[in-house]
Symmetry: C2
Subunit: 270 residues, 2 copies
């Protein structure tokens, strides 16, 4: 039964919310043991503690042979500042683990996948407990850790697959954390961005995704209202840029910044 | 005396504002002749007309031998959707021209500089007339077009120099519009972005700027208030990422989304 270390490479998590996640896990998933690293509750400016504190906690969780999985507590930006340094310190014990999260956590999932360390998994995080009905999202990851694969995103085929937040993946492009995605189906979702910014991100991203097997669009949610309508729906935007770069557009994906966000283990389906 | 074509590759411009710019030019710069292309006043969704209309107008202005300069009326996103197609249609008449603008207009300046077409110039645009005291900004570009170089950004040295909006340049990285900037001093400015987003953009951008002579920071203005302070000032952010990539940080730059925005002709100072 999996022993799961939880740390916060990006923004801080609240103790009360951690207690709710622990209570849910104990009540419904007695086989899944959660361990919140105290770093989760640090706060320094935008982040869950200094770069050094976040990096050290992540390395500690990854390199501790007692843990089978490392779960990122929350996104919110910050992993980009520590990912390279942390991955350089990962040792043998880090290799066989699961790494779970999404949103800004995708920065680490991308770097891990590039370096072929462990199994990166796009999955709901402890912070999802704060959403209305968020227990359903947290439960999905806990169930998956316990062996129930019913929460996996259903569109996967014989191609290796990855899932990212659009902004997070766009920012990884060309950096030492960007994985090679040739032959992959790439799933992306976005939240709280204007459609003109979504268009701009796809302009950028698709220029970096030559050779992928195809792109799938998750939910583009909580789009702020602009002073004028953009004039094209998210799917039209994606089709436009996919066509430009001869990338097959494969349809929707059941991922997003919401409680229905499904699980995508990176790579080939098993 | 320069004959200047004005088109709008991004967002639409208002006729009343064009009239104010025309009146200012006629009153104070009789030698500078401005010609607003009617496409400036089109509106379709987010943009100043369809992709085809914006592309056609830009090509028309660039390829008309009667004009010495092409001035972008306004930024606001949209040039990325037409830049490659437009540049592919530029002919011999487009080669010797000045191209002026900033913000989203940097998308075209970057592509022009990459393809060594004409002289790209970071400069205030007609749309700056809408700012309080914006006549000063518009006047700066008109004076420069008339031969008065006093509005040029003062930090330039013996290195070739370029100036961009941070987001615009970050989105160009790795695309067919990104110029090679080895040996260049790169000036960047930003507006209306959270500091965590600024940090994220520098994470991305600096990974693409290996080999530049140095980075200078223009104004980071109108930063929205977040639910928590970021914890570092813009200059600390830039220093952090420059250090990470061994890029010399050279100090400030007198550019920004404001009426004091100075002029930066791309390349070597003349």
């Amino acid at each position: 039964m999996p022993n799961v270390a939880i740390c916060a490479p990006s923004a801080a998590f609240a103790k009360e919310d951690a207690d709710r996640v622990l209570a849910l896990a104990e009540a419904e998933f007695p086989g899944v043991k959660l361990h919140f690293h105290p770093q989760c509750f640090l706060s320094e400016g935008h982040f869950a503690g200094s770069d050094a504190a976040r990096c050290d906690a992540l390395v500690e969780c990854a390199n501790d042979a007692a843990f089978d999985a490392v779960w990122f507590a929350r996104g919110g930006y910050g992993a980009a500042r520590i990912a390279e340094d942390a991955l350089a310190r990962f040792d043998h014990a880090a290799q066989g683990k699961l790494y779970l999260g999404y949103s800004d956590g995708g920065t680490l999932l991308g770097g891990l996948y590039r370096q072929r360390i462990g199994q990166p998994v796009h999955a709901p995080m402890p912070a999802d407990i704060r959403r209305a009905g968020g227990e359903a999202a947290v439960r999905r990851t806990l169930a998956w850790l316990g062996g129930d694969k019913s929460g996996e995103e259903p569109s996967r085929d014989h191609h290796p697959t990855v899932a990212f937040n659009l902004m997070t993946l766009a920012m990884l492009c060309g950096t030492p954390l960007m994985p090679g995605l040739a032959g992959h189906v790439v799933l992306v979702e976005e939240v709280c961005e204007y459609l003109y910014a979504v268009d701009r991100l796809f302009f950028h991203l698709t220029a970096h995704l030559g050779g992928i097997a195809g792109l799938r669009l998750g939910r583009i949610s909580e789009v702020p209202e602009n002073d004028r309508p953009f004039g094209a729906a998210p799917e039209e935007i994606v089709r436009h840029w996919c066509q430009r770069h001869a990338i097959p557009f494969l349809g929707g994906a059941d991922i997003g910044h919401d409680i229905d966000n499904k699980i995508v283990p990176f790579g080939l389906a098993r």
